[in-house]
């Protein structure tokens, strides 16, 4: 690999290890067209009771990151490197059998499309019973009781009778709830939610996000929430990873990301979205161009072909040198060559007033 041997500046406190720590994770796929660098050196940490948001446009590597944490690339052609430290173990290195014991029990996942998790030929209830019994040595009766409790807990009306329904008999929102019930039936400590509300109406999204928050309080779980919606991030997350072209380009607490962002891509996301909560602007301010190819990743800064602020960097560093993800203050890291003082000035003088 190129210049990425920079020291790992993970925003992690040195005194203790976080509940989940991801260090310099890369996932590369060899393909006929070349090496797809779907995820390239991302780092973050999540504590129990906290929600980490991963935000970025489609193809930026969000799902591949979550699949890596779930160990879903094991046994495939994918080249996974870096560390995923979870309860004292490195998930990158453990074997598939060990991973299988964690999956569904300690770590669970929900998806955008519940039908990818629910089998059409089995009743919703029996699928949750099975998910429970894989990890818990209990009778069918006990598992059924637990399942009905869970269905009730996630807000499915008449859980006794809905237990025997098939997935297609549920509405979109109800299916999402059923999938959440299945993911949470074993009390996982870490829940990964990959665009859990993207296919839903905002009214149903509000219900589901509310439910996830309640459940998080109840079970003290850590949540990784993957989304492309900055509104959802503002509503639910404590910390945020902004991904672009497979890389983490900015990491910080939710207030830093929304009130003091420093990476031009984060600025671009904020200026391009129409907002309901601000004075209406005459024109939206898009980022020009298209997201990069992950096979021919731009040299230098991965964002440089679309960046409107390169003039603030002397010489052609943007095009030739890959910037490190550097902490500007504790817990806020930025991958950009512009001088931090200049970045702050651009944000407060140019960008913020235009939002």
């Amino acid at each position: 690999m190129s210049v990425t041997e920079a020291p790992d500046r993970t925003p992690s406190p040195s005194t203790h290890t976080a509940f989940l720590e991801v260090h310099d994770l890369s996932v590369h796929f060899p393909t006929e067209d070349g090496l797809v660098k779907a995820v390239d050196g991302i780092s973050f940490a999540v504590e129990r009771g906290e929600t980490l948001g991963i935000v970025g446009e489609s193809g930026s590597g969000k799902s591949v990151t979550s699949q890596a944490i779930m160990g879903l690339h094991k046994g495939s052609r994918a080249r996974v490197s870096g560390q995923i430290l979870f309860e004292g173990r490195d998930l990158v290195r453990i074997r598939e059998e060990e991973m299988r014991l964690l999956r569904g029990k300690q770590i669970a996942m929900i998806f955008q499309d519940p039908l990818s998790a629910l089998h059409p030929y089995y009743t919703v209830g029996n699928q949750i019973v099975e998910a429970y019994r894989v990890h818990n040595d209990v009778s069918k009766q006990a598992a059924k009781k637990r399942t009905i409790e869970m269905l009730d807990r996630v807000g499915i009306p008449n859980p006794d009778s809905r237990f025997s329904d098939y997935p297609h008999q549920f509405s979109g929102g109800m299916r999402q709830r059923a999938m959440i019930a299945m993911a949470l039936v074993c009390d996982p400590h870490l829940l990964i939610a990959d665009e859990p509300t993207t296919a839903l109406d905002v009214t149903v999204q509000a219900q589901i996000l509310e439910l996830m928050k309640d459940l998080q309080r109840e079970f003290d779980s850590a949540i990784i929430l993957i989304t492309h919606d900055l509104g959802v991030v503002a509503e639910t997350c404590d910390n945020v990873v902004v991904m672009y072209g497979g890389q983490c380009v900015e990491y910080g607490g939710v207030d830093d990301i929304f009130y003091k962002p420093e990476m031009p891509y984060t600025w671009g996301l904020l200026t391009s979205m129409p907002r309901m909560d601000r004075t209406r602007t005459e024109r939206l301010n898009p980022i020009s161009g298209q997201p990069p190819s992950l096979i021919n990743v731009p040299s230098g800064c991965v964002f440089n072909p679309r960046c409107a602020y390169r003039e603030h960097v002397p010489g052609d560093a943007c095009v030739t040198d890959h910037p490190d993800l550097l902490e500007v203050v504790p817990q806020h890291a930025v991958r950009c060559h512009i001088d931090p003082d200049v970045r702050r000035r651009i944000w407060s003088e140019q960008i913020r007033p235009s939002l």
Binding site: S58, Q207, V254, L270, S272, M276, R280, R283, P286
Partner: protein
């Protein structure tokens, strides 16, 4: 109410459709899809009331936003206006001419004036044709010979929507989602229509690309004096692009008014719920917002609730109204009425609320983490 000569004879015209300057006036439009059963003889056993008495108008050069949850009838309304499907009843007037019951051949000259674009441009672009052929198709179908020839006209169009005219011979799969939407726009523009019905045109696009396409649509509107019926479920996008907005629920228009009025003082409890559910990209505002959660699922349009179709999920009904008032909600259909000038609301107990959309900058400064 005035009356006009509609296709059914003399029908009352709803004030929301009563605009002498309207390019498009839709009055009491209904689209019911029959449900048929039976082995030898299919008989109708019911109907999906997808659109159930919708009225609105659109002026030349204006954008009317159509919002609401999925299944509320937005697409069906758009398809009925452009006559891709037949309305069950009601009137659709385009430049004063009744078009609701015109046949295919009678519609042909009007197709030049009214176009439609879709959420997934890919599914509406023939994958086996190069984009030059696709964008030029309207000329051939309508038998129009543009000045300088079809190829030149197509290249001008491609350039106008921000595509490279040299890519005339490329196929749809060679373009990204945003570029395909541009191709769809170029095709829709070919015959210089006066109205484009846009069905979720930017819903599938990433936010940075979405902004590019929204800006393009606004430029094209100014340049060609286009009117848009802009169907979307994203209320923030609609606030940006629309001049007026109709909020739909279960086949009905619940509220219809100017964009600025709707987003500062929405009156219908459904609009309140819908707007309060949109998460805004500001953590401090998110923390102090009241969210009006809707209970339960959308009822079926086959068997919609009595009285106000929204009463089964309405927070006001559930938490505020007296038993006598509730009875009215269950028993009497609220008509879409003028509650304030130009502000139509279909609710027995509407209430202008300024705390919902947060469309003001108030307080932001103070809350910013210093």
């Amino acid at each position: 109410m005035t009356t006009i000569q509609s296709a059914d004879g003399v029908a009352p015209i709803h004030p929301a459709a009563d605009d002498p300057d309207a390019l498009l006036a839709v009055n009491d439009l209904k689209v019911h899809f029959p449900i048929r059963r039976g082995i030898f003889f299919k008989r109708q056993v019911g109907a999906v009331k997808a659109v159930d008495g919708v009225s609105f108008s659109v002026r030349p050069g204006e954008t009317l936003g159509l919002v609401g949850e999925s299944g509320c009838g937005k697409t069906t309304t758009g398809r009925a206006i452009t006559r891709l499907i037949d309305p069950t009843s009601g009137s659709i007037r385009f430049e004063g001419q009744e078009v609701a019951r015109l046949g295919r051949s009678q519609m042909r000259p009007l197709r030049r004036q009214m176009q439609m674009i879709f959420q997934d441009p890919y599914s509406s672009l023939n994958p086996r044709h190069p984009i030059g052929t696709i964008v030029g198709a309207p000329f051939r179908i309508q038998g129009v010979e543009p000045e300088g020839g079809v190829k030149k006209a197509v290249q001008t169009l491609l350039e106008r929507v921000g595509l490279n005219p040299e890519h005339y011979n490329r196929y749809p799969h060679e373009f990204s989602g945003g570029q395909r939407q541009r191709i769809g726009l170029a095709r829709a523009l070919a015959l210089q229509p006066k109205l484009i019905v846009c069905d979720e045109p930017v819903s599938a696009l990433d936010v940075s690309v979405q902004a590019q396409v929204v800006n393009l649509m606004e430029d094209l509107q100014d340049e060609f004096h286009l009117a848009y019926v802009f169907v979307a479920h994203d209320l923030s996008v609609v606030r940006h692009i629309a001049d007026r907005v109709a909020v739909m629920y279960l086949g009905h228009v619940m509220e219809l008014t100017d964009r600025d009025v709707l987003y500062t003082e929405p009156m219908h409890p459904y609009t309140h719920a819908l707007m309060s559910a949109v998460p805004v990209p500001d953590p401090a505002k998110e923390n102090r917002r009241e969210r009006i959660l809707l209970k339960g699922d959308l009822p079926s349009p086959i068997n919609p609730p009595s009285g106000c179709v929204f009463h089964t999920r309405c927070a006001k009904y559930r938490e505020v109204l007296s038993d006598a008032e509730k009875e009215r909600c269950r028993g009497e259909v609220p008509v879409l009425e003028t509650k304030r000038p130009g502000h139509f609301v279909a609710c027995h107990y509407p209430e202008a609320r300024q705390d919902i959309a947060l469309a003001e900058d108030a307080g932001v400064e103070g809350e910013t983490v210093a």
